[in-house]
């Protein structure tokens, strides 16, 4: 009874940490939509001798191409698994089977400039993002980039370091990066402060977790001592503890991770940073458990001493 309760509480802490990580990512996605689907890691650049050839590389990215005269009219090149902003599809339309399609904002005044090869399949379903509502996106999954359509670009990737990914696609000398202003909810100070706040809560949760693990192991101090005095080797004691504590704990957190992975597939965000961070949190828990087990065995056996049988 007690064991399940401890494991339950420890998993609950992990779940809380997971929700905090998820919420930070979720907030970032909302910020990204309000900022015209550019996040804080997105890069803006201009061509400088680049001829529109991308190095062949399997990665996920979204590259928006535009002319500074009409920055709301974008050619959007999508590669790999990239989440698009919420779309209100015109009935009967979908992205499946198409390599070229157009998505426009509800405030776009004219659709006459959209090339015939792009069919409008829906509208941006982002009522709070006036930026997206004024934009026209001509989405293409083809790799070729025609520089006559514009020489300014915005680049975003869910694969971590945007600069590294961009460098792998284009020779960095051939582009000129432009520092970009942030708009939308990104600018709000309360919003920028909040992730820091959640990070503090996460720190708090981690301390709680270490504390719980410590108390959970300490409950069996007497058993360890008896096992030691009755002549069991360290390895046997460690094996006993691994079976009693480590295994159920790892199984429990494994179950939790599977649960969250299913959640991720049902409700994908822009990137999986939250899940990666949660993995670190869980693995750190395993390490703490291992260290505390080792520490307790030494403390309760050799250090306490006593006559062994």
């Amino acid at each position: 009874m007690d064991k399940t309760r401890f494991i339950f509480i420890l998993q609950f802490i992990c779940l809380l940490a997971g929700s905090a990580f998820w919420f930070i990512s979720y907030l970032d996605q909302i910020n990204m939509i309000n900022n015209g689907y550019l996040n804080k890691d997105s890069l803006s650049f201009r061509t400088k001798g680049w001829e529109g050839e991308l190095n062949k590389h399997t990665t996920n990215y979204i590259l928006m191409q535009y002319d500074t005269i009409s920055p709301n009219f974008k050619y959007v090149h999508v590669k790999g698994h990239v989440k698009l902003p919420p779309i209100d599809y015109i009935s009967g339309m979908s992205t499946t089977g198409r390599t070229k399609y157009a998505i426009i904002g509800k405030m776009v005044r004219t659709t006459a400039n959209i090339p015939k090869s792009y069919e409008i399949i829906g509208y941006f379903d982002t009522p709070h993002s006036y930026r997206l509502q004024f934009q026209t996106w001509l989405i293409s999954k083809e790799a070729s980039i025609d520089l006559t359509n514009g020489t300014s670009f915005d680049f975003s990737t869910p694969n971590g370091n945007a600069r590294k990914v961009l460098d792998s696609l284009i020779d960095s000398e051939k582009v000129e990066l432009i520092p970009r202003d942030q708009f939308g909810t990104y600018v709000l100070e309360s919003n920028r402060m909040f992730p820091a706040l959640l990070a503090a809560s996460l720190f708090f949760l981690f301390i709680m977790k270490v504390m719980m693990i410590y108390m959970w192991i300490r409950k069996d101090n007497a058993v360890i001592k008896v096992l030691y005095l009755s002549g069991n080797t360290y390895w046997r004691i460690a094996g006993f503890l691994a079976q009693q504590k480590l295994l159920p704990y790892i199984l429990g957190s494994g179950g939790l991770i599977i649960l969250l992975f299913t959640f991720k597939f049902m409700n994908p965000l822009w990137d999986n940073v939250w899940l990666n961070k949660l993995m670190y949190f869980v693995i750190a828990g395993w390490l703490v458990l291992l260290i505390i087990i080792g520490f307790t065995i030494i403390k309760e056996s050799v250090q306490k001493g006593g006559k062994r049988f």
Binding site: I13, M107, P127, G184, M193, F204, M211
Partner: protein, 421 residues
């Protein structure tokens, strides 16, 4: 006191950890309060635009019209009068945010401050009276812009109220966007050309990063890389009208934004007497697109709600976890409680002991974030009071729960029975 010492000694490690947890818990409460306060301030700015109509005044003096108009010797005085009456009406708010590049002398060259940098143009530099001047992005704004947008300073002070009037030889106060930090300092004297006329300016302040204002062309104009000057209205009809300075200034003074509850028809009626009195009719009233304005206020509202919900849930969950550690503490202290019972304590006094201990821990722990607050925040009184009100409420709630919890725990453990053996 002795009892507390005894209880502390029983589980020193756990007690220290519970103290640390209490400090963190209090810090979180404080951070939540500051954050909510911040988001409240931030929503007031876009909320002022909500349910209001925004109009742009735009003159019709182009091509032949302009030439015809300025052939009248009173034309400057007419424009001046129209602009003056326009901004002096109390039936609406007259909001003037003019995006107009200026030229700075001896500018430390950095192309990103150029007004057309995003469009791929470098810094334009030209000679004027033997000095190089660089064109940089700039806004000229009136006092209403500060009222409608929540603009923060990291250094210095805002424009004094007399800065909004033109004086021939006075230094222009200048606010700089955050990107200028390190390039210029508060108190620096700058030479500048505004509509090609030479002025001296003095830096009075540097804005916080990512400050933005509403303008008709861009509802979120970011000020980071801009030089902010006050719009300087002429008190008297200008006499020296040489060059483009006076004409361009008069245009920018009258091509402002009107923020009001009035409908277009009502506004037309309000402006009619102004036309008649100033004898100027060559202008349009253009209604602003309402979506960007509404989107801004909805966006900030949703943001605040989201932060509020998340704060509350995290707070509750952390409180739950904290209570659980406290219950563990109580369980660990059972041998001590038994001794106390033998020495004549009653069950009630033991329960009181645990809730009092909680109050003491949180009471002491709450001092740490409070001390930090006193150091960091400038006017901490408001936060301090709100903080302690919340802490007291939380402590009372927790103490009640601890009392219930210990009662239940003791009943289940049945201490008396255990003592009897």
């Amino acid at each position: 006191m002795k009892v507390r010492k005894l209880l502390f000694k029983q589980t020193p490690y756990l007690n220290v950890l519970s103290g640390v947890a209490a400090i963190l818990f209090c810090s979180l409460i404080l951070a939540f309060i500051i954050n909510l306060q911040k988001s409240n301030i931030e929503t007031t700015a876009p909320d002022q635009f909500k349910e209001k109509n925004v109009y742009q005044i735009s003159d019709k003096l182009y091509n032949g019209q302009e030439k015809l108009f300025f052939s009248n010797p009173d034309s400057f005085s007419i424009l001046h009068q129209f602009g003056q009456k326009l901004r002096q009406s109390n039936k609406y708010d007259y909001y003037n945010a003019v995006w107009q590049p200026i030229e700075l002398a001896d500018f430390k060259i950095d192309p990103q401050f150029g007004p057309y940098y995003e469009f791929g143009k470098g810094l334009q530099i030209r000679e004027f009276e033997g000095k190089p001047y660089a064109t940089v992005a700039s806004f000229q704004i009136n006092a209403k812009v500060f009222e409608y947008n929540n603009i923060g300073l990291q250094e210095g002070h805002f424009f004094p109220s007399d800065a909004y009037f033109f004086e021939e030889d006075a230094d222009i106060p200048i606010l700089l966007g955050a990107a200028y930090k390190g390039i210029y300092q508060v108190g620096d004297h700058l030479e500048l050309l505004h509509y090609t006329r030479h002025f001296n300016g003095v830096v009075t302040g540097i804005l916080k990063p990512q400050q933005r204002i509403f303008t008709m062309n861009n509802p979120e104009a970011v000020l980071d890389r801009s030089v902010i000057l006050p719009v300087r209205y002429f008190k008297e009809p200008p006499k020296n009208t040489e060059g483009i300075f006076v004409k361009a200034s008069l245009y920018s003074h009258m091509n402002g934004t009107i923020i009001t509850n009035l409908s277009p028809m009502e506004l037309r009626d309000v402006l009619k007497p102004i036309n008649v009195e100033s004898n100027f009719e060559a202008y349009h009233i253009i209604g602003a697109e309402s979506l960007p304005i509404l989107a801004l206020s909805k966006m900030t509202d949703t943001n605040r709600l989201l932060l509020f919900i998340a704060s509350l849930t995290t707070g509750f969950m952390l409180a739950g976890l904290y209570l659980w550690t406290l219950s563990l503490l109580v369980k660990r202290n059972i041998p001590v409680y038994m001794v106390l019972l033998i020495s004549g304590a009653t069950m009630d006094s033991i329960q009181m002991l645990s809730s009092r201990r909680l109050m003491l821990t949180i009471g002491i722990a709450s001092l740490f974030p409070a001390a930090l607050l006193m150091i960091i925040v400038e006017n901490p009184l408001y936060f301090l009071i709100t903080y302690y009100v919340v802490v007291v409420i939380v402590v009372l709630l927790l103490a009640g729960m601890v009392k219930l919890m210990t009662k239940k725990l003791f009943r289940r453990l049945d201490l008396v029975q255990q003592l009897k053996g």
